[in-house]
């Protein structure tokens, strides 16, 4: 018995070691890349002392238009992607989960196709669509990049929202309509508030994926003015870029992490406030005491 216990604990120590080593391995290189943005020299691989020159001053990331433009463009794309994808995806999800008809199944399959083909294939397909079909508005450049990112992110929003929708009984909408709300009102006043956590989660994911996206953004780009941060990193990494490149990459990463963290905190708050109680269990005493504790 004791030998088995010792055996089990050895196994656990091994597991802990793997986890710790993995986390170090996955994050240390990023930390080092961040460190090199303070390098006194021009190298991104050899440490030559500490300096703030890539963060402030004439050689800094903030003073080189190629970097600031890329950051600005990436943020623009991300904001547009969130603004378009979230309402589009949430309303499509409501349709897909509540529509009782033959369109729903093939439609949900189609909407999730981008999840089961490599992004490169979708990027190439969108590139041909935009270059060979004369679509209004959508051309290579910002419009094409937004369209491409939205198409790519849409299935993720759908997966998140439908997951939440399936836990919201249709009875809530029926109750609203029973009490005199028109169908649009029942969605706006009941379903949308209940979907808030999913909407927020979708927005976070859409933002993070858009900021990180490379393949579609690259294929749908036109001139250098439509260069996003990942595109710039891709072209500059193996060239002679200065540690300002590391500084720019760090700025984007920190922006994404902060937005995701704030969003997650908000999500926790919403999810707790609007939890859907299941068929209630008769426990008045418990409910009262819980409120008393608050």
């Amino acid at each position: 018995m004791s030998s088995r216990l010792r055996h089990a604990s050895w196994g656990k120590i091994g597991l802990v070691a793997i986890v710790v080593l993995y986390i170090v391995w996955s994050l240390a290189p990023v930390a080092i890349a961040f460190l090199f943005s303070f390098n006194a020299g021009y190298s991104r691989s050899t440490w030559q002392g500490f300096s703030m020159q890539w963060w402030t001053g004439s050689k800094s990331v903030f003073n080189l238009p190629i970097y600031t433009d890329a950051i600005r463009h990436s943020l623009l794309l991300a904001v547009l992607a969130v603004i378009i994808t979230v309402p589009l995806g949430v309303s499509l999800s409501i349709f897909l989960s509540r529509w009782r008809g033959i369109t729903a199944r093939p439609a949900s399959f189609l909407a999730t196709v981008p999840l089961v083909v490599p992004e490169l294939v979708l990027a190439l397909a969108l590139f041909f669509l935009v270059t060979k079909v004369n679509l209004p508005v959508v051309t290579l450049g910002t419009s094409g990049q937004v369209v491409g990112q939205v198409t790519f992110i849409l299935p993720l929003v759908i997966v998140i929202t439908i997951g939440r929708l399936s836990s919201i009984p249709t009875g809530y909408e029926e109750a609203a309509q029973d009490l005199g709300a028109s169908p649009p009102q029942s969605f706006r006043l009941v379903l949308v508030p209940l979907l808030q956590p999913a909407i927020l989660a979708s927005a976070i994911v859409a933002f993070a994926v858009s900021i990180d996206d490379f393949v579609i953004t690259q294929y749908m780009s036109s001139t250098s003015s439509t260069q996003s941060v990942p595109m710039l990193i891709y072209t500059a990494t193996r060239g002679g870029a200065t540690p300002a490149l590391n500084a720019m990459a760090t700025i984007m990463a920190v922006t994404t992490i902060v937005i995701a963290a704030v969003g997650f905190a908000l999500y926790r708050l919403l999810a707790r406030r609007e939890q859907i109680t299941d068929v209630p269990a008769p426990a008045p005493a418990l409910a009262v005491s819980r409120e008393g504790a608050l």
Partner: protein
């Protein structure tokens, strides 16, 4: 508030191949407590949802106070629903849940406050107005659902198994409250349940349903004491059925052959002849010591005795092989019988009811359903 008058004619609804509601006719008179009782899948909830407007009938008519509401969308029907799991909006507090419908009607501020207050008072929830639904017990949520619907002063209140989620003790208490409430507000209640006790204690009239058809409509006493079909007898209490051969009889009476014994039945379809079923309530079956003589008596053996508190249930196997149950009221003394002893069963002629078979177990045949439905219409 005046109760609404509902007339349902030839209503049906199917899902794919399944006929959920099979051409039924029902009428709920103003101010009555009407229950639809039956097992799950009998069509009672579908019927309720068609009255509320959540399901479209395939055919038939629903008149509310003489107006056909079949094409009126749910939010414009003057009926309100208490849902099975209440569906209290989790993001709104109790007050806002009750105010929800009034806000849709753009009721003035003062009137809104007054009416919400009155509705909360009606269900004794004034003190909990600012609570969130997650802080309420099941019984409290049920009251919010009631207040939310009643505040709109509907002509008819539809209730879909509103007590199903509660424990037994609370259920009994709320049954009384619900009945009192219905008498206070005076509107028509249409109540769906699978619990025969609930239906019997609260209803003015009950429609017993099975397989999308109405088996019988009547007052609680009628459906309990005078079931017209085997299904109704079975569903409303312990199945105490006797297979017999109806041989002859004067009008209003029927002579039944059970094995080598002859019994007289004065209830039900006394004109039927041939193979019939006969129902008898366990509390009307009298147990006597073996050898007792007289009319309408058959011998058997006590197979099991089950002490129930207020009574003892005896399960008796007749010499013909069938079993019958007898309910012996407790009188403070031990029951005078033991398991395994021979007894004589007295089945009073007016307690024996000849009923139509089928209904419950197998899917009814078309003619059979048609017959039941005509019967139901005649009763209504």
């Amino acid at each position: 508030m005046a109760g609404g008058h509902i007339q349902i004619t030839d209503l049906s609804r199917s899902y794919g191949d399944v006929l959920a509601v099979n051409h039924i006719d029902l009428e709920m008179v103003p101010g009555e407590f009407f229950s639809m009782l039956g097992p799950s899948g009998c069509g009672k909830t579908t019927t309720l949802r068609m009255i509320a407007g959540f399901e479209d009938p395939d055919s038939g008519q629903i008149l509310l106070d003489g107006v056909d509401i079949r094409h009126t969308p749910p939010h414009k029907r003057p009926v309100n629903t208490v849902f099975q799991a209440y569906m209290i909006f989790p993001h709104l507090d109790v007050y806002e849940n009750v105010a929800f419908g009034l806000r849709r009607q753009r009721v003035g501020k003062d009137e809104l406050r007054r009416r919400v207050g009155a509705a909360l008072e009606l269900v004794q929830l004034e003190a909990l107005a600012k609570r969130k639904p997650s802080q309420l017990s099941g019984g409290q949520q049920q009251r919010v659902a009631l207040a939310r619907a009643l505040v709109l002063e509907p002509a008819v209140l539809l209730l879909d198994e509103p007590l199903g989620a509660l424990d037994a003790k609370l259920r009994h208490q709320l049954q009384d409250e619900l009945k009192t409430l219905q008498q206070t507000v005076g509107i028509t209640f249409v109540y769906v349940t699978h619990d025969q006790e609930e239906a019997l204690t609260m209803s003015d009239r009950i429609a017993v349903m099975s397989h999308g058809a109405v088996e019988q409509i009547g007052t609680p006493r009628e459906v309990y004491d005078e079931p017209t079909t085997e299904f109704v007898a079975d569903f409303l209490g312990i199945s105490n059925l006797l297979s017999a051969q109806a041989v002859s009889g004067v009008p209003g009476e029927c002579l039944l052959r059970v094995g080598e014994f002859l019994l007289t039945a004065r209830g039900g379809e006394t004109a039927a002849r041939g193979q019939v079923k006969c129902v008898v309530r366990p509390e009307r079956v009298n147990l006597e010591p073996a050898g007792a003589t007289g009319h309408n008596r058959v011998p058997g053996t006590v197979e099991r005795l089950v002490y129930l508190g207020s009574a003892t249930r005896a399960i008796v196997r007749l010499d013909t092989g069938q079993t019958l149950q007898s309910l012996i009221p407790s009188d403070g003394q031990p029951v005078a019988f033991e398991e395994g002893i021979a007894v004589q069963l007295e089945l009073p002629a007016d307690a024996l009811r000849v009923v139509k078979g089928g209904g419950g177990a197998a899917a009814p045949q078309a003619e059979h359903v048609l017959g039941d439905q005509l019967e139901g219409a005649a009763d209504a």
